[in-house]
Amino acid sequence: MRTLKPVRIACTAVLAAALAAPFVLLAADAPAEQFATLKKEYDTAYAAYLTEARAAKNPTPEQRAALTAKSPLPKYSPKFLELGEKLGKDPAAVDALIFTMRIDGRGANGQKAMERLERDHYNSPQMSQIVGMLRSFRTPAADKLLATITEKNTDPGVQGGLLMSKATAAKTTNPAEAEKLFNQIIEKFASAKSATGTTTLGELAKSELAAMKNATNFDIGKVAPDIEGEDLSGVKFKLSDYRGKVVVIDFWGDW
């Protein structure tokens, strides 16, 4: 027993050091972790804020002002900006800066985040997440960031994403141009990942083209395709059963 005691103390000391060391290392070495931690904190605060905001039905102007004052946005946008600046070239820095502009797009911190992205991260493949929305900000920082990415980013997902946002914007104003751009995407960026990473730009462009074609099939004056299916009780029937009648088709949901 007498010999055991010092050993045990030594063990405890080693254990404590071993426990402490990776913890310190983690904090310093895992920028992704730092971003995730802050994001989680923000999500919790935002969820609580939303719950409170939804509970307040017909608030008075004073209540509404008090509620707005509780929004976590002003508290967190500088924190995300600071983290983004601190983490340097790490991809997590880009995540933090992008998040800053997501929650504070027209505010001062959002502009600083975009300036920083423009200066340090214009060639990051992560830019594919924002090329679709940058057009809508209409601030000098956003326009400059978009211009630099367009000119200098070499990632196919980013360049394809730029084309995709142009094509999508042209769908209603200039369908012929949109069709041309979607075909370009299929030609040049077919295998590039989409912004969400769940599909490829080629697949997206193909489905957009199909939807555009379909839309013209539904022009007024064309025969509608038949529907064969089941009613809510599981009985089979067809739309064409109603030929000879005027039919209102109502795509509905109970929400």
Binding site: N217, V248, I249, D250, G253
Partner: protein, 100 residues
């Protein structure tokens, strides 16, 4: 929505007219609405979520979406609601009677 459609269907019950729904809800929810709102018309069930096969084939991107077809199955009006829907149906019924 429901009250207007109910009254249209009631008013047109002796006319060559049908209102056909295409429902995008889970089935229990759809059946709940039918019962609660006393919906007398038939609906295709589109698989339980928006973006089901029928909605996709018909290029439906928002709900509700309305198409009005004439007796030949030609799309004649889109997204008419309320009184505009009544007028569309009445115009097509009149047209049918005239071309008989």
């Amino acid at each position: 929505m429901y009250p207007h459609e109910r009254s249209l269907v009631q008013r047109m019950k002796d006319k060559p007219f049908a209102l056909i729904g295409v429902n995008s809800d889970p089935k229990d929810k759809a059946l709940g609405a039918v019962k609660r709102e006393n919906l007398t018309w038939r609906s295709f069930w589109d698989g339980g979520s928006p973006g089901g096969p029928i909605a996709k084939a018909w290029n439906v991107r928002g709900w509700p979406t309305i198409y009005v077809l004439d007796a030949k199955g030609v799309v004649r009006y889109k997204n008419v609601r309320g009184e505009a829907m009544d007028r569309a149906v009445e115009a097509l019924l009149k047209e049918m009677a005239e071309t008989k």
